[in-house]
Symmetry: D3
Subunit: 280 residues, 6 copies
């Protein structure tokens, strides 16, 4: 998990927007002294992610969460992933927010797992992108890791990726790579987006650490992979789906980045079921 | 749009997580004095949502956004929805974050529009739920409105919704409705989730303002709608999809709430294209 | 009590403004190792409110508070409501801030209790208003509940109240109520401020959920109450005092809202007395 | 006014708690394009305070405030103190919060003015205390100045006030004053609360800069004033009211501190009246 | 130590800027379950300051710090000042930030101790100034106290210091002192910066509580000290170094303020050494 | 400059800690309407850094700053670097905070310039470290760039640096480098701290991107440089001073990192002088 200081504010914001001045229904209907036990269960096959966030949600509501699974593990329909204990009001207050975190993050992990499975035999890595939900960058990238994926850079600050606009501004692939080397942060690798064999050759000669081919057809990608011949990693990107990822992987690329992992994963089905209730 | 004070912190967080200490690539490759103009274009048919957030993103980066569409309008592939002007570094710094907001919110608006279209002839309203992205509650509900949908309560504080756990705690539908009336906030309507004709009858007699039927088959829903006979609105919910929503609507329910509007909308395709560049 | 996340920032701000860089007197005169025990006592008859805030104040200063009363209970002069234990410096640092919270909130609860007592035989409810101390909305509304009062809406977001300006903008009471019904949030009741029998009739016909009569003389209020005949609740407001509230209640109104509960309650007398001291 | 950074957060909190996700009534009934002009008028004789806060409230809502009075000026019933212009929704959104600030702060200024008038002939200064509304310390002290009063220390950090507990901890008035001198911040005067002539004598000998007599009867105060003979200022405090303040002042004390200025001032009557409306 | 609420945000900011999304090296190389023990040792003779900040740093990282020295104590090369225990990743994450706090604050304490030692025989106090590191005011002033120094005012709010610009604005030393007396906060002493015997005389006559001579040669200072003859404290300031401070002190001034204590102290040498490691 | 969002909070904190509730002296002595003009002048030869922070300080106080120099330029004694215009109270309120920023950051830039000059002929780069003032990381690294230095990683997140503890945990240099490559972020270079020729050889073979030699004597460093023979950059560190840096550079190392640039730079002398005053 990323450092808690990076996601605690999101948990606070999430509870504030859902509970606001108070849970009108539960405050009217549930006695303050009533307690309960509830379980969070998988309702479909999924890869679990987000238990620490769910635990923090319930903690802030006054209940406690015990895990019976871990982030990165698989769950089958009916599997219990966590048990919640505490005041009934606290469980009801945290339920929706905790599930919203779990369902979205597990959805990303589950989708990532599918992409990884689809290319497993090829050795290609599945990477995420910066197409994440604003405010969720680090926890979505964590979900990708839980799904077996590999993280691309976290943001604009911890990786150099030279795109067409940068090349246009500098004048050539060669000039762009050299300038990135000499003026960019010392510890950052320099990746270049290239659109042709010629650009690939220029990037290699200029000393690029990795290449990116965006939205090229598989045969074209294969040609570039052949040219590079393993000297640096080649990454493919551009609207890649579960249907097309295997064909892309078979071109021999080392890395495949998939925006859909984070921008279009659907929430998976997890539900909270009460198992005990007392004193209501 | 919700009050800016409610979403400005999310914009700040989004930029902070993407840019952090700085854009390593652009600072190395783009001169501080270089300027540019870029357009945000639709790449598929979609309902626009999020222009004010995108404008705020670019403003904070030092560029400015002019709209050529409005939230709630439809766009065809190729339509320009906004034009950005300013320092090239500023445009590059804000690009990904602005698109992440626009693509997700327009995705929700677009999906909502489809659900609304699917039930248009029936008069049923399409409602959202509390299954929103944590941190995004108010802007996602705004996206639902842009798509033609209707908002359910914003959170636990501005609507009373008595669910099975509440009824179990109090003992009966009747007791639950009465207690909500007498102890709940004066200005909030009381909606009850019911599972049978008998519960529906009890809720009506106890004076409920609206009913909710969750995960019942259409014929069962129709029976309840018949019993209620228009005295209070009836809402249906539970895993409803674009494929099933029309059948649900034909039962005569007044409202259909769809968690997928917000928890599983895919991002729609919007892209930023440069049209001018100078001084790089 | 409202969720702690809603009032913790106020406690932090209160301590920061009183203590700032440090308690100059105590740091000079009291040894860090000195400890003490002190009691908070009522100096007049009052309704207690604010113990959880006082406890949080002392907790943040490094002392602990044990309650011997509860919010919503009555205290006679001399009654001990809480005992504080801890470092002498911590008790001295928190004393004024804790008392400031307790005295103001107990003042509101005490005044509310008096208003409730004044109308007890009539069955009318005493309501608060939005005339609260900025920054204190939720805790002052809690104090009203502790005094036996009933909360009106928390803010502009959780209740619809159509006032003269809204009616003027829309054109008629009828149009205003209908528009509020169709465009306002689904779960919010629609209350209308009316000034005449005619407006009352129009509001009822348009389906208003509650009426408000502001600053009308009792006979006029009684006439409106007669017209409404119990179909919806009628609320009276407008400069109502402990002297006039009984006459208002006798008109038969269901609810009486009193701005003075929160905007003009005087602080009640509670004081901190040391009972033990050691190691100074 | 205190630095804006010290009270801007309170304005933000006040608007957030009143408006939250949005003004349900106005969003339903008032068109976004409607504009208006409104005046804030005094409804009773009062001393104005809080115009800069009210201006900030309306600014954040999207309207603008023009002053026709100034903080510290007197207003008669019917006097206009400010005019608001802007979108009708913006004026309605800010109205209650702006008035809540103005009514409370003007209430404090008005009450302070009365206390000052009551002792005008004696030359005694009227001082505030630390019995302020938590979160409002600096603006309430500003309101006291607007009313003609003088500020005591802002908090525990910018003045030394040795009370009975401090003396008990150190052992004697003499030891307490000496320790405060040698260990306390260099730039802070040392004031001592004394209960007898003997203690007054000891404090003077030890070099106290000012004395405080709390809850002593006027003859006793006069005796102490006589002893001190103008060498240092003498302050009286303890439940002083408009009825008793003159008698206290006639004892010859230099300063009279009154907790009621801030803890029990009632809100004065100011109201917002619309004068123009268009485009609704 | 100043109240923790005043420096906790700095600790949070310090960790955020160093760790950000995570410690790339340790997350890759150190197992999550690995634990360790490390010691913080002095590498030169120094005065310790900052242990509570270091403890907070490690606490937030998930490790714990046990002290074997205290703030204000002296350490010789090789002395262990604290021991850290916890997950190896936590110790590595907090190491640099904790040392950065300790090295800077101990550096200030150590330099202050040297200045105090240089004037020990004279009885002059060594004071700090407002030339502190922005964001560090209170903890740097604490470090000065740990070094044996005395704090000047904390900021512009808790002491009156009339400088040349103030005198120029008012017209004369006399007018400036009188106005400060009558309009300034009651509890603050009035110090005046004077440049000549004549000004010193005027300040004394006007009732100044303390004088400041800035950048005058020692004989000139001595003359002023002679004139004042102990009636009020005299402070000297202006580029005073370890080399010159003794000569300044011998003029008989009571206080010597030294900006270099905080603006130019070098970091002292403290290092973290591992003593145990397991489970890596 | 780093993004303003990263340092605005520090400016706010700095003003809050210096001004707090208000400038007691200026509020008493300077009329609100008085205005002035003042210049910030260099009092010694220095490299300028921090003008944007100083401008922000004065802006927040209500004055404006015009630059007559730029960050990264050199100034001689007497050179004016900026002119401030505005209310006299605003200039006095911002003076100390603005100078504190300028003096410290210019001090770092000036010291860095000296280190760069000392090695100019060798081609070695002067690097900073993570030994920065907590809360100041990004602006101190900016000051290093203004002085001609080169930034090492910003924090633990944007560069991999394998130290002795990491090697000990993994078992060998080879294993450590390989694990960093396979498990660390894709875009980060892998630097290894080595202590011997043997370790250098192992690191090169394992594919390290850069080496670090810490606290080795120059001949030993030269030997390692010889072994590496330009294949990867070699960095030297460890207590390097202006006296020793040239000898280190002559070993042929590519980079020299100097903690003293940020942890022990002394403030340079810049002062604010008034040139006009009116209406006081």
């Amino acid at each position: 998990m990323p450092p808690s200081a990076t996601w605690h504010p999101l948990v606070a914001a999430a509870l504030a927007e859902d509970i606001g001045p108070g849970d009108a229904t539960s405050c009217a209907l549930i006695e303050a002294a009533a307690t309960g036990v509830a379980r969070i269960e998988a309702r479909e096959a999924l890869r679990v992610c987000g238990l620490e966030l769910a635990a923090e949600v319930f903690l802030r509501c006054g209940a406690s969460l015990d895990r019976s699974s871990t982030d990165g593990a698989d769950a089958e329909p009916g599997d219990v992933v966590a048990t919640i204990r505490g005041p009934a009001r606290a469980i009801l207050a945290g339920e929706r927010t905790a599930l919203n975190f779990l369902q979205r993050l597990s959805g990303i992990a589950t989708l990532t797992r599918r992409f990884c499975a689809a290319v497993a035999e090829t050795g290609a890595l599945i990477l995420d992108t910066r197409k994440t939900t604003p405010g969720w960058r680090l926890i979505e990238k964590y979900a990708v890791r839980c799904g077996g994926g590999t993280n691309h850079r976290s943001g604009l600050y911890d990786g150099i990726l030279i795109k067409d606009n940068h090349i246009a501004a500098v004048g050539s692939v060669k000039a762009a790579v050299e300038r990135a080397r000499s003026r960019g942060p010392l510890a950052l690798a320099v990746q270049v987006e290239i659109e042709s064999l010629e650009q690939a050759r220029a990037a290699l000669e200029a000393g690029a650490d990795a290449l990116l081919v965006d939205n090229l057809p598989p045969p074209h990608i294969a040609e570039i992979v052949g040219l590079v011949a393993g000297r640096v990693p080649v990454e493919a990107s551009g609207g890649i789906t579960l249907e097309t990822v295997h064909e892309i992987a078979r071109t021999g690329v080392d890395r495949i980045s998939v925006g859909a992992l984070t921008h279009s994963a659907r929430a998976v089905d997890l539900a909270l079921e009460w198992t005990e209730r007392s004193g209501s």
